[in-house]
C-alpha cells in the first residue's frame, strides 16, 4: 500500500490553509506529523480521508491518482481516520458508535439483509475494546463516558474497519500516561502488521518515540521532512521552537 500526496492546495474562503503539499507513505511506516496550532495538520488529513475536498493536486493510492476523494472512496480503499473532535454520536451507545457507518448485518444465503447482527457486533466490539484496555458497558451512552474513554471509542471505530492506512489526529490528547503508552505500543504493533500510519500529536516525545519519519508543518506548508534517525529529540525540539517567529 502506498499513498502519495502531490501539489495539494486547499483554501477556506480565499484563505490558503494548505499550499503545495508533497509527501508519501507506505505500509509498515509510521509518519509523525507535527506543527503549531492552525498549521493545517487536521485539514490535510481530512483531505486524505475525504472529509474535506482539496482545491488542487492529487492523491495517488497504489498507483491510482485521485483528484477527488469522498468519504466512501477512502473507506473502500481502507483508509480510517480518528478525528480530533472524535466524531461521536453522544446520545447513542458505545457499540453503535464503534460501528458507525460499518454496521454488521445478518447474512442469509450469502446475501446481506437490512437487519443488524448485534451478537457479532458485540463480539467484535468487546474484542477491540479489550485491546484498547477499555472496560466499559457497551450499551452505555457515550456522552456518559470520560474524555479518555470517548477517545478510545473513536480509536476503536477506526480499528474495527481493519484499515490499511490509519490516520490518527491527536489520538492521545485526552489519554492518561498509562493509556497513552498502551496506545503507542498498539500503534507499533499495527505497523508490524503492515499498516501505514499517520500520527499527529503535540507531544513531541510521543511522535519521536513512535515515528519512522517526521513531517513538520507551518502555516500550511511542509517545512521539514526527515527520517527519525537523522535527528535527535533535542534537535527536533529546537527546530520547532527556533523557527517560531
Amino acid at each position: 500500500m502506498t499513498l502519495n500526496v502531490s501539489g495539494l492546495y486547499k483554501s477556506y474562503g480565499g484563505r490558503h490553509v494548505l499550499t503545495d503539499i508533497h509527501f508519501g507513505i507506505k505500509s509498515g511506516i509510521i509518519l509523525g506529523l507535527v506543527g503549531d496550532n492552525g498549521a493545517g495538520k487536521s485539514t490535510l488529513l481530512k483531505c486524505i480521508s475525504g472529509a474535506e475536498q482539496f482545491d488542487h493536486g492529487q492523491i495517488t493510492i497504489d498507483g491510482v491518482a485521485h483528484s477527488v476523494i469522498t468519504p466512501e472512496l477512502s473507506r473502500s480503499i481502507g483508509i480510517a481516520m480518528i478525528y480530533q473532535n472524535l466524531d461521536l454520536c453522544p446520545q447513542q451507545d458505545v457499540i453503535t458508535n464503534i460501528f458507525l457507518g460499518q454496521e454488521k448485518t445478518i447474512r442469509i444465503f450469502g446475501q446481506n439483509t437490512p437487519f443488524l447482527n448485534r451478537s457479532h457486533m458485540k463480539y467484535l466490539a468487546t474484542e477491540v475494546l479489550n485491546r484498547l484496555g477499555l472496560d466499559v458497558d457497551i450499551s452505555q451512552n457515550v456522552s456518559l463516558l470520560s474524555g479518555g474513554q470517548q477517545q478510545r471509542i473513536a480509536i476503536a471505530r477506526a480499528l474495527i474497519s481493519h484499515p490499511k492506512i490509519l490516520i490518527m489526529d491527536e489520538p492521545t490528547a485526552a489519554l492518561g500516561i498509562r493509556e497513552s503508552k498502551k496506545l503507542l505500543d498498539m500503534v507499533r504493533n499495527l505497523k508490524m502488521q503492515g499498516i501505514a500510519i499517520i500520527f499527529v500529536s503535540h507531544k513531541i516525545q510521543d511522535i519521536y518515540d513512535v515515528s519512522d519519519r517526521i513531517l513538520m508543518m507551518r502555516q500550511g506548508k511542509i517545512i521539514t521532512d526527515l527520517n527519525k534517525n537523522d535527528i535527535s529529540l533535542a534537535e527536533l525540539h529546537k527546530i520547532m521552537m527556533n523557527e517560531e517567529v
Binding site: S49, G50, A51, P71, E72, R75, M81, Y83, D87, L88, C89, P90, Q91, Q92, T96, L100, G101, Q102, E103, T105, P114, F115, L116, N141, V142, S143, L144, Q150, R157
Partner: protein
Amino acid sequence: MPREAKISALVLIILCGLGGLCSDVFFTSANLVNILTASATIGILSIGASFVLAAKKLDLSIGSFMALTAIFGATFGHSGTGIIGLTLLCGVVTGLINGVMVGFLKLPSFIVTLAMLGLARGVALVISDGDPIYDLSPSVIYIGQGEIFGVPVPVILFALLAALCGLILNYTKFGIQTLCIGDNENACARAGIKITRHNMILFSLSALLSAVAGLIYMGRVNAADPAAGAGYELLAITAAIIGGTSIFGGKTSIFGTVCGALILSVIQNCLTLLNISAYYQEILIGLILIFAISLEKVKIYPRGMR
C-alpha cells in the same frame, strides 16, 4: 427505549384512570374502540414524524399530504385497488420531492416541508375543485370502517405499522443510522453513511405513512376531502414528542410515540365525554406540546451534546 417513553406509558394509564372517574362511558368497549380508531390516523402520522425528528429534521407536510394523496387516488383511480395503489404511489412521490429538496439541495427541512404544507393542500384543492369526492369503492371504505374479528381495520393497520416501524428503528441499519444522523450528521457523513439517500428514504417513509393515514381517513368518512388532515402535523409531532422523541434529534421510540398518540386520543375523548368544546381541545394540545418540549429543554444535556 428512552425513559420518557416509559413515563408516557404511565401518563397514559393515569389518564385512562381519570377518564374512568370522569365518565361511566369511558371504559365501555365501544368507547375504547373509539379511542383506538381515532388514534390510528394521528398515530400512523406520528410514527413517520418520529423517524424524521430522530434524524433532526421536521416534516410539516404530512397533514396536507393526507389530503393530496387521497384526492389524487380518488380522482385518478377507477377501482378499489386503483385508488389504494395511486394514493400510496402519490405518497412515495411527494415524499421523494421533499427528500430531493432536503437531501440533494440541502435545504432546511423545516422550510421545505412548510412550503409543501401549503403547496400540497393547494394542489389537492385544485384537483378536486375544492369539493370532496364521494362514493368511493367498497375496498376503500373497508380500510376505514371494516373490522377483522371485531377489531377495526384502522387499528389493525396502526398496530402492524407500529410493529414494523419499531422493528426497522431498532433492528435495522437504516433505523440505527437514522438516530445517528440526528445525533451528529457530519460524523455520519465522514463515516461514509450516504446522507442524501438516507434523507430521501426518510421523507418517503413519512409521506407514505401519511398516504396510509389518508386512506384510512378517506375510508372512514367515505370521501376524499381536500380539507382532510389540516393541522394533523401538529398533532402527530406532539404525539411523538410527548412519547419521548427528541426535537434535537438522536432519540425516539415507536412505543413512546404510540403512547403519545393514545394520550392525545384519550384526552380528546375525555373532553368530548365531558362536553367540552373542540375549540378548547386545540388550546389544550398547544399547551401540551409546549409543556412536553419544555420538559426536554430544561433537562441538563449530557456533555458532548452539540
